[in-house]
Point group: C2
Chain length 444, copies 2
């Protein structure tokens, strides 16, 4: 059995490693068009800022380490075509092109950065951050010569980069097209993050659309409302699946992402997809969604390795859990926001509280903002958002677990949760908030 894997980062190498452990005989070839495999992309902002000293420490395992385990990793090898009839791929390496046949094929090419299509975009000082090569470039380039950085986009990578750049002592201007940063959060919660951005010295411009870059000694960012002179631009306006090379194949896609079944198999037999190039089922919505995150890439990659290794596994899907550090804030969400529930036409209610992150009388408690979104008919928990300087990042996963279990507000209120003053108030803030939900039925 020969498994060919296209893409050697999270999903691809997870699949390779897992299959290797379960099946000593399978031939596993990984084609990676870049230089690096198996790295923690989420750590890149901290490498750029200097908090993580070496890019090597982001690399979980080198190509050589994989080769020693019997996984044939080939970097700088780009798959440029797939023939699903003949079950082969065409691979370009240097000037050579070569065909390889497969028994099973995993597409794990991940995503590439979206880039603005505006005049003046072709300039070496306008960049994005997606690969470890990007991170190395930014690390080397952003010397003191570049003191004012324009950040386009206020999503989570934009915010992580804002923190990194402030840590480096840069002046930062962030330009966000929408009326709030962090579009995955409700506006009332996102505004807490905006307050922190401003307090940390980030100039935040919302509801401004970049219309052009003008080059000179510096770069002039021209928006529909104003203009900003900066030394360097980092665009973080989102990503799209890296699937252009699949055009013309029989592999079914939606909005550029690959459709897979619960076993990560595409509509074409023996062709699988995992990670940031695939669509995932959303557990709370009757649809497949594009949620490019490292957790899902690792999970779906591993799961495919298990399946190919003969284990019974299916992917249960995602609910939209995420957390980021925004300067001193832990910013977390899981499940549906109020605005997502509204868009989906789900009758929902919401409660929001502020509670101390641990017992108020114990030193160091910080205000924690908690918001629950719930189904108004049966009080099922649909989503939670937590923001605070402490106690949000792990608590969100208590909520995530409850939501995935289908718990109601009442059930959650009754949970036996561990408590001690240095860690929590006697009622956990999640329970304090859930207790505000009115699901009362009067007796008799």
């Amino acid at each position: 059995m020969r498994l060919i894997i296209i893409g050697g980062v999270a999903a691809g190498m997870s699949a390779a490693s897992k299959l290797r452990r379960l099946d000593e005989d399978a031939e596993i070839i990984v084609f990676e068009k870049g230089d690096d495999v198996s790295y923690g992309a989420c750590g890149m902002p901290y490498y750029i800022s200097g908090e993580i000293e070496s890019a090597d420490s982001l690399v979980a395992r080198t190509p050589d380490a994989f080769r020693k385990k019997g996984i044939d990793v080939r970097t700088r090898h780009e798959v440029i075509a797939i023939d699903t009839e003949r079950k082969s791929v065409t691979v370009a390496a240097g000037d050579e092109e070569k065909q390889y046949s497969y028994d099973k094929l995993l597409i794990a090419t991940g995503a590439r950065s979206l880039r603005l299509d505006v005049p003046g975009r072709d300039d070496g000082r306008i960049r994005s951050l997606k690969s470890l090569s990007d991170a190395r470039f930014l690390k080397e380039t952003l010397t003191d010569a570049y003191s004012h950085i324009g950040l386009i986009g206020g999503g989570y990578i934009g915010i992580e980069m804002a923190e990194a750049l402030r840590t480096m002592g840069k002046r930062v201007t962030m330009i966000e097209r929408e009326s709030q940063v962090l579009p995955g959060f409700d506006a009332d919660m996102a505004s807490l993050v905006e307050d922190t951005l401003k307090a940390e010295g980030v100039t935040l411009k919302k509801q401004e659309t970049v219309e052009a870059y003008e080059q000179g000694d510096s770069i002039r960012i021209q928006t529909d409302r104003d203009a900003y002179e900066v030394d360097f631009v980092i665009e973080s306006i989102g990503v799209r699946p890296d699937t252009a090379f699949l055009e013309g194949t029989a592999i079914e896609m939606e909005k550029g992402a690959i459709k897979v079944d619960e076993g990560m198999e595409t509509n074409v037999r023996d062709v699988y997809a995992a990670g940031d190039c695939a669509l995932y089922p959303h557990r709370l919505l009757d649809e497949h969604v594009y949620v490019p995150l490292g957790t899902h890439a690792n999970k779906t990659g591993r799961l495919l390795g298990e399946r190919l290794g003969g284990l019974e596994r299916t992917f249960d899907g995602v609910i939209g859990s995420m957390v980021l550090k925004a300067f001193e804030l832990e910013v977390a969400k899981t499940g549906l926001t109020a605005s997502e529930a509204e868009t989906a036409g789900i009758p929902f209610g919401e409660v929001r509280i502020k509670a101390p992150s641990h017992a108020g009388y114990y030193p160091g408690a910080k205000p924690l903002h908690v918001k629950w979104v719930y189904h108004r008919e049966d009080c099922r928990l649909l989503g939670a958002q937590l923001i605070g300087e402490a106690g949000a990042a792990h608590r969100v996963n208590i909520a995530a677990t409850a939501i995935q279990a289908g718990m109601t507000a009442r059930t959650f209120s009754q949970l036996d949760l561990a408590y001690a003053p240095p860690f929590s108030p006697v009622w956990d803030p999640l329970q304090i908030a859930v207790n505000q939900i009115k699901c009362h039925r009067k007796k008799g």
Copy 2:
């Protein structure tokens, strides 16, 4: 409707407050034999150590504040007898005794410290810590004149007091009868805490039983194996329900604790119990258990207030979640330990791992020890224990939620949990551990 509440700490005042909010007309009288109501007993070690400056800050609300809300709080009033036929209680206050009739009666007397019954025990320098009065006494008494403290018992209060006393610069000798500290934890996990106790300068003596105290300038603790000269002794060998005054009534008890139904009602109509004097159903075991913890007292008290206020509520029970700070360690458990599962005759398996508390490449990661106990037949999760310098205290509640939802290892492995490098590895340590559980079914 007149509700009489016996005991004004967590359960009693939770019930009173909740009923007051739901029912403006009910007459609510609280008899508390001590001086204080509604205080956070779990914070007392930190008050003694000086980390919390004032005992007042442990008091959530004063008697006067309750009175302003229309709750008739009477401190230094001890209920000494109950007549369930005539629906009245006898209350002693100073030299007076008086009868009060009730429509509904809540017994929320909590627990008292167990004390050793050994020669020489009657000495003002041999104390325990249960009430805020005890805490005040210890705070005032443990001046520099007392430099070496004997701690009898290595349960969670003993360990919290060990930390408090070391913070105060005291020499501490801890004597534990059993072969491990923290009897609620498995020995392999408890040993991590023992290592920390020793590293923090606590002299730990295990498998030694105190046989006598001998008084002199100092106190000589005589055990079955050795003897220790100390200046002061704090016994923390557990508590028992404060129910002696119920002897001879029709109220059913078991091992001194009050049996209640799912609505916290005793076998005697209109008589309820909540908090540390009551037994709770264990969700994973087919029995009622005695688990005196503040979380349950608050929960059952509030629930009773809701029921008396006309809401439909039942208590779902407990699973044994707890967390404590042991010097720099977060020490947490939920559900069944391996030894508890064994005692209960449940066929179980266990896995144990050590993982970084967050992404290894991000500064500040600490080793986190995670142990899962699971049902060997269906891989249902039964219990988790987490110990580490970071990331244990809230993660245990992710496990607690999963266990209470009846999740299997497989389901847990698939949970969409939020991740970012400063907070977690890409696979949460709980998932890394659960992935070690072999619940594989081979396909076909």
